[in-house]
Subunit: 426 residues, 2 copies
């Protein structure tokens, strides 16, 4: 089927607004490791997709899925060993205080559980988020998307604080000063809730500010902000849907870069390397208190198949020593990106943590004018030349790269060489 025909059918059956990547959409038919193949057999290096965290079609994950789906797939109102084995292995990657798990299917559902739990347990409704974050697509979670979700406009229980952007925002503050300015902004949100008679439930943020453009924040950044939230009776919810599962290297969870333990952690995307699984890991007292009144049940969440897949992903992390690999490979790629920054004026800032990279493109380094048009052209040039990346940010000018974690030195060299060509062409 031609791309034109496929597009026409898609518009007719899914509508015109179902989002697609690239000026020329890609018709993919096969994936293996870090490679994707289109209908004409052309291959693409996948430097975008974080969901297939251990690589596309990893045999160990497929085998676990196939075995369990051929044996039993049933909801959690019956007992099954997989859910307890998986919950045990998963919670073992967290601080001891985060000892219980709940399972759902998507990141939106995980953040919904966290919101409901925080509101039940705190008795408050107010949630603090960072402006231009994205936490999901349900009504209550869409209200948190203050940058672009229509529901956010009338959300009286949400306060968004400015992005702690050391490159552009908060008066160019850096390091400790940036953390304190962020904490002050949190305090203003707390005070604003108090003035409106709204009790605080908590603060929900991605510790790496992934959707805000992967901001360059120092270790320990959240400490003072979380202290303010807790002093006001709120809970700290870390959204690890993007930053979790080793993405940032060194640690399994991005909040572990900070010297502060969340009360609730949400996770999703890479959890099943493509299989729809998500989860919440939280303090036992919060899960028990929420469960006693909310009677939460999720038909598909935590079923034996999902948990088998989840465990297979953890197996690969251990067998392939992925945390160390991500740390090493992240540094290697970052060195290459820094060299490109020396060479091309268009690269205003290089940010990275593990295998998560943000390149802020500007037309002028002094006035930091966003190079939105150039970023779009570059992303499409890369696609045409066999490398898949994307862009993000308020000005849509930050290159976003987060390949499957099995990304190797050869893949890195290919990415860097193509980026070099692309910037040279711009």
């Amino acid at each position: 089927m031609s791309i034109e025909e496929l597009l026409a059918r898609r518009y007719r059956l899914l509508g015109k607004h179902s989002p697609l990547f690239y000026d020329q959409p890609l018709h993919l038919v096969r994936g293996k490791g870090v490679w994707l193949y289109d209908a004409e057999g052309k291959r693409y290096l996948d430097v975008y997709n974080n969901v297939p965290v251990v690589g596309h079609c990893h045999p160990h994950v497929i085998e676990a899925l196939t075995r369990q789906v051929s044996t039993l797939n049933i909801h959690t109102r019956y007992l099954h060993e997989n859910i307890v084995n998986y919950a045990e292995r998963l919670t073992a990657t967290f601080d001891d205080s985060l000892s219980m798990a709940m399972f759902a299917c998507t990141g939106s559902e995980a953040n919904e559980i966290a919101l409901r739990m925080a509101r039940h347990c705190s008795g408050g409704m107010g949630i603090i988020v960072t402006d231009f974050a994205y936490h999901g697509n349900t009504t209550a979670v869409a209200e948190l998307g203050t940058g672009f979700m229509p529901e956010a406009a009338n959300a009286r229980n949400v306060r968004a604080i400015p992005i702690p952007d050391s490159y552009r925002g908060l008066n160019g503050l850096q390091g400790e000063a940036l953390a304190l300015a962020y904490a002050d902004a949190v305090q203003q949100a707390i005070d604003s809730f108090a003035a409106a008679g709204i009790k605080l439930a908590g603060m929900l943020v991605c510790p790496e500010f992934a959707n805000e453009g992967l901001l360059n924040v120092p270790e320990g950044f959240m400490k003072e902000a979380v202290a303010r939230v807790r002093k006001a009776g709120g809970l700290y919810i870390a959204d690890e849907v993007q930053g979790g599962f080793g993405r940032t290297g060194t640690h399994m969870w991005s909040h572990q870069w900070d010297d502060v333990i969340p009360d609730i952690v949400t996770m999703g995307k890479p959890m099943g390397s493509g299989h729809p699984i998500s989860g919440v890991v939280a303090r036992a007292d919060l899960i028990n208190e929420f469960g006693s009144s909310a009677m939460y049940f999720n038909t598909f969440g935590g079923n034996p198949v999902s948990c088998a897949v989840g465990m297979a992903v953890l197996d690969v992390f251990e067998r392939e020593n992925l945390l160390q690999h991500v740390t090493e490979m992240g540094s290697y790629v970052a060195q290459g990106l820094n060299k490109l920054q020396d060479k091309y004026e268009l690269i205003g800032e290089v940010r990275h943590k593990g295998l998560f990279f943000g390149l802020e493109m500007v037309t002028d380094r002094d006035i930091k004018e966003p190079a939105t048009t150039e970023a779009k052209r570059l992303v499409n040039w890369m696609r045409d030349n066999g490398i898949l990346i994307s862009k993000i940010g308020r000005y849509d000018n930050i290159l976003k790269m987060r390949p499957p974690l099995i990304f190797s030195r050869d893949h890195a060299d290919l990415l860097l060489s193509k980026l070099d060509d692309a910037f040279a062409e711009l």
Copy 2:
């Protein structure tokens, strides 16, 4: 691992409130067709689970899943044939006006899409539901669960109308009179919204009132109620998460028993026979209008694996002629249940549509005192004797039975004979 040990680990890792069936929870390890097997090898006839709609571990579904998951699993921002092929086959089972689809992972997510869409497109916020319904577990959908969800207590944009229960409710009205009383209750909800200055968005109901106890409503029941909703500018959303996919026999969708076409239909549970898929089928203008402002994207929804599984389920419906089978087998089981009603005073009413059965148990047929204790004892007796059923309703006294649709005459005879024994023992 012993059940005691498994339970202790589950309480420690998932908390004490993660719901479990039966006084003695079942530790299941294997499923095949309509049979489930526990850790000791004892087998159980599954007369409860609607999710494995074509039977546990159906080889055609497993094969489709395995093939696609070994080839490519990726989100819908790239083109893929599976999503358009599946959307085409799915929408073909609906009225021509319901021509577009959106995909998500759970019934809660499907109802979230419907709510957001109805509110966007109507410009209103008010939603009419039936009391004691359950539509899912996210904040906005939990607000619709006026019988038992804590969020419903303060939901100012929700009006619940009484259950149109011909056995107990609405002054014992039947047939046409019941439908008119229901429409009048809808009108009162519309008027109540108007008085509060809340614009109507629509009415969201399960056309079979599955969670309200599978009520005995006549064909065409919804017609007048929907007319009132539309006259007030609202949309009619049919929640087919339980009633859809042939469950009620004769038609693929339970709303097709009525002489009225919904504006939006939501579906989930049986859609992937256990794989986490859900969807919304709606009028094209609604999906386009919603999409233009909401930028809805679901990371796992509509991926090639989910769509392959969804198509495999539709294949089985066609190959095994399931709609006709459900209609025939439903009548056969219902005849047997009616005979049991003649024999046992405890059975106040037998309700059925296709392979969905509700038996209302009462201690006294004249005063209709709910036999809650007896229903609990009976469900547990059946479990101990190898038959899995459950119970539902405001008084938890309605036996709920909805087996996989491949349920045969032999299975039916076994069920009926065991029910006979169980009622004799009570």
